[in-house]
Subunit: 188 residues, 2 copies
């Protein structure tokens, strides 16, 4: 027999999947049904749906972020470590299961930057920017923080592009990231 996860885990997993696929406006009824948990149990575990949104992002967000990064011990140059993120985005963008960045979606959907889940979302977005910053510094970019901000804006804008067009980026984001890195290279 396969073991069944406890209600809390089932709820958070169902929330992460359902809110990503359909948006955080999905109702409590559907969420509980998908998780196989009663509404009564849900409200015993969490004060509100808002808490579920924040906690599901907090618990499942790290896997989303890690999915864009190469293994830390991979033998890769900093430039390739940056481009790896865009190569992964290009791959993801062509899949029917791709609905953009879950952190951007949550922040956009909630329309409230002070919402606990919006603050969790921002922290994950900052992890991406810190990753870019670290490698921009190793690359010796003249203004690493500016390059990191540019790469983050490109990532988010590209994800939005794929969502709005409902099609693969077709290499545009990867090429734009390459162009950005080249534009800072000292030999230009």
């Amino acid at each position: 027999m396969t073991s069944i996860a406890p209600p809390r885990e089932r709820l958070l997993r169902a929330a992460a999947e359902l809110f990503y696929a359909e948006g955080s406006a999905v109702g409590v009824e559907r969420l509980c049904k998908a998780a196989g948990v009663s509404k009564r149990s849900m409200y015993q575990l969490f004060d509100s749906k808002d808490k579920v949104i924040a906690e599901s992002l907090r618990v499942h967000g790290p896997a989303t972020v890690a999915g864009y990064f190469p293994p830390p011990d991979a033998a890769m140059l900093p430039r390739d470590r940056i481009l790896h993120v865009f190569a992964r985005l290009e791959e993801q963008s062509g899949r029917p299961s791709f609905h953009g960045c879950p952190f951007v979606n949550t922040a956009v959907e909630l329309h409230d930057a002070s919402h606990e889940a919006s603050r969790v979302a921002l922290r994950f977005k900052e992890q991406l920017e810190s990753y870019f910053l670290r490698h921009a510094e190793i690359l010796g970019a003249p203004d690493p923080a500016f390059l990191a901000a540019q790469l983050t804006m490109l990532f988010d804008g590209a994800a939005v592009r794929a969502v709005m067009r409902a099609e693969s980026l077709g290499g545009t984001a990867f090429r734009a990231a390459t162009h950005l890195l080249d534009s800072f290279a000292p030999d230009r």
Copy 2:
């Protein structure tokens, strides 16, 4: 006495304002209350809330787009016409009433690219990209379509950044657009 707009116009204006400020998940009750229109009247005018979302974007979208462009007869170079869009975004980004790009928000919130409103949103986004393309061509960019895509991704990524951080872009988007244009300039 001030004249009162007919119910259809009041509904579409309230929808544009409320969905932009709080998201398209806002319910029909609140929408009708804000518009001062009965639910019965709303359903006589529109088949569904989905139709209201699409039509409010269609009717009020052109003013949003136009708000980012300089007057067509302004004496401005193509480069400045492109940068004008980012200068406007910088201004907007610092205002409490700024909630990002309404077209991106609608597409993200609906999670359905085949929804009528998502298709309307995409058409407006394409107007922005066409504007960039037209001016990139006049500028003599080596690959105007690529530059237009890069500028569009920057615009969307920057708007998302302002929303997630709930703060002004502080010049980052304008500087990034300038950098992008400079990176294609023939004298580099």
